[in-house]
Amino acid sequence: MPESITRSPNAVDNPYADPAARRALTDGIAAEPGVAKPDPILVVDNIVRKFGGMTAVDVDHLEVQKGIITALIGPNGAGKTTFFNLITGFDRPTSAPTRFKRPENAATWSFEGSELGSTSASNVARAGMVRTFQLTKSLNRMTVMENMMLGAREQSGENLLTCWLRPTWAKEEREAEAKAKELLARFKLLRKKDDYAGSLSGGQRKLLEMARALMTDPTMIMLDEPMAGVNPALTQSLLGHIQSLRDEGTTVLFVEHDMHMVRHISDWVVVMAEGRVIAEGRAEVVMSDPAVIDAYLGAHHDTDLGDETLQEDTVAPQPTSEENPT
């Protein structure tokens, strides 16, 4: 197979491209909240975020393994988006040390071994941890192509001193454009490339945002509900794309409510509820964990989450609570 152009320059031969290796890896990790990983890319400690009296996030310890796909799931309001905001620098933990005061259990979080406690959102992105937003942030009055081009890194044309000298950046621009076209084709947006992003549908904006994030060649990509509003056929191919990203060495952390998708592509699942990490493990392990089912569906329920039977009401000795609360 020809090597794709989207393969990032920092792509490594990921040992976890091999399913057996992933299996061996996850077999070796205990399925308990806050468990240590052999090769964590992201480590967070004591992250607390309060909104007034309400604690939105309270994570004691969490590690995200490098080179695999980790899903972050949890019911609405569990604090997943807030957690994303906190570690990417868009929000600050209440427990973060300030210049004057360092709380006893000060929040610390690090990416690839370097502390992010005082790193701005843009520097976090430049360090290689790039996120998308649950409520999409497309640049509406710019074309789809311009949106994509903004994702390209280290453009010498973005320097004020040299930007008026076209020859200094023309070549870079052409390369970025080729890469953008390839990504847009994959995300079925190529024919929209000269349209304003504001004229795209909700699902298309989600896709654009994901494609734009990939333009930055992230080391780790954090997707907040990437497939919400994307049609099933495209979801299938995008899941394939996410897997190939992983195989090329990008670490993926994503939030998703669709349990089938979670089951299908994630190597590891972290479950949050009411701001805390309540479970971790492989998808099938986590989804049969009573604590998780409780968090999702309330107590007294004995069906697996994401189990096929949930979708088909043929075999349902006990109706699911969503369909028919008892």
């Binding site: 197979m1 794709s4 990417t88 620098g89 868009f90 701005s120 959102a121 843009s122 520097n123 992105a125 430049r126 790039v130 996120r131 998308t132 937003f133 942030k137 497309s138 640049l139 509406n140 009055r141 710019m142 311009e146 081009m149 903004l150 994702g151 890194r153 453009q155 044309g157 973005e158 320097n159 004020l160 930007c163 008026w164 950046w169 390839e182 084709a185 994959r186 079925k188 190529l190 024919r191 929209k192 000269d194 349209d195 304003y196 504001g198 004229s199 945002e209 734009r212 994030a213 333009m215 930055t216 299938q236 191919s237 995008l238 899941l239 394939g240 794309h241 897997q243 190939s244 195989d247």
Partner: protein, 385 residues
Amino acid sequence: MTNVTENATEPDFQDDGLEADHTEIAEERARRQRRALIATAAVVIGFAVMWIVATTMSGTIPSIFASVLRSAIEPQTAAVAIAVIGLNIHFGFTGLLNIGQAGFMLLGAYGFAIAITRDVPLLFAVLIGLAAASAFALLLGLPTLKLRGDYLAIVTISAAEIIRYVGRLSQLTPVTGGSQGLPGSQYRDPFVNLSFFGDGTTTIGPFSYQNTGVNGWWIRFVAWLLVGICCVLVYFLVRSPWGRLLRGIREDEEAMRSLGKNVFAVKMQALVIGGALGALGGIMYVLPSSVQADSMGRTLTFFIWTALLLGGAATIFGPVLGTILFFSVRILIRGITGAVVPPEILNTQQSDQFSWVVVGVILMLLVIFRPQGILGNKRELQFNA
């Protein structure tokens, strides 16, 4: 890599819809350019007709037309156009709400004029004016550019007023001339002496000015040359990836941060460049007249905003066209009102005030029926983020 992704890539490159869509977009673009061309042509033809009438006939109307044409090429019109080009970088491209552009102009004018009176060479005096405005931009930007957009608006409008009040202070009379201001004779000589236009008077059509003089062809030439240079500068800046950063910031700062862009630094660069252009405009504004703090206050800022919205924000020539129209249309309205309405109903002073009322109404109609201005792109205004 899985097969799924491979399949996803192949067909889309030869998408049938591609051709059709592109011609449609090209058509849309061509339509827009045609509209801008028609608008510009209409203005040019209008001025040409006035020119012919003014030079071949005599009477009230031809003399009104002549004064309209004169106001269109006035050096102060060019000076304001330069300030509008600066504001366009702030608001049109970056989305920064600067409601104190006249403050930048005033600071530039003070810096320049005071430096000349202290025997600083002309070029350095200009640089001092620009540096003063740049420092002012830095000072205002540092605390506000990390906050929401409204803060910059509040700070610029009050800071511009502060500059004006400080300039008027009687204690500062030895430096700024206090409320009397600095008369042009104190600082204009080095500029006038630079002229290679020689002495005498040249008449072209309805225009008859001294070749050099205090307010003659020389300053008109330099002022409009500068307008041209600024347009070229802005063209190169905004067509580059740096310009793309500006528009990205205008659309959504957080998205730009998530892509690793240093939003604060880029906003600061835009604020400084636009402010420095404001200062350049300020210097040109005072060269044919005097530095008067009160002539560069909120009213001038309002003119600058009106001219920008009239011509079309986020365009290259919109600011220039908007400024020329703003000043010349008002003279036209004033002249016609004076000629048509008997002095018992509206005297000269009242017809001047009436012309401002009409300008205000035109601005309202413009915002309602053509919010993108004359040259602006309607599609760019359609999606309110």
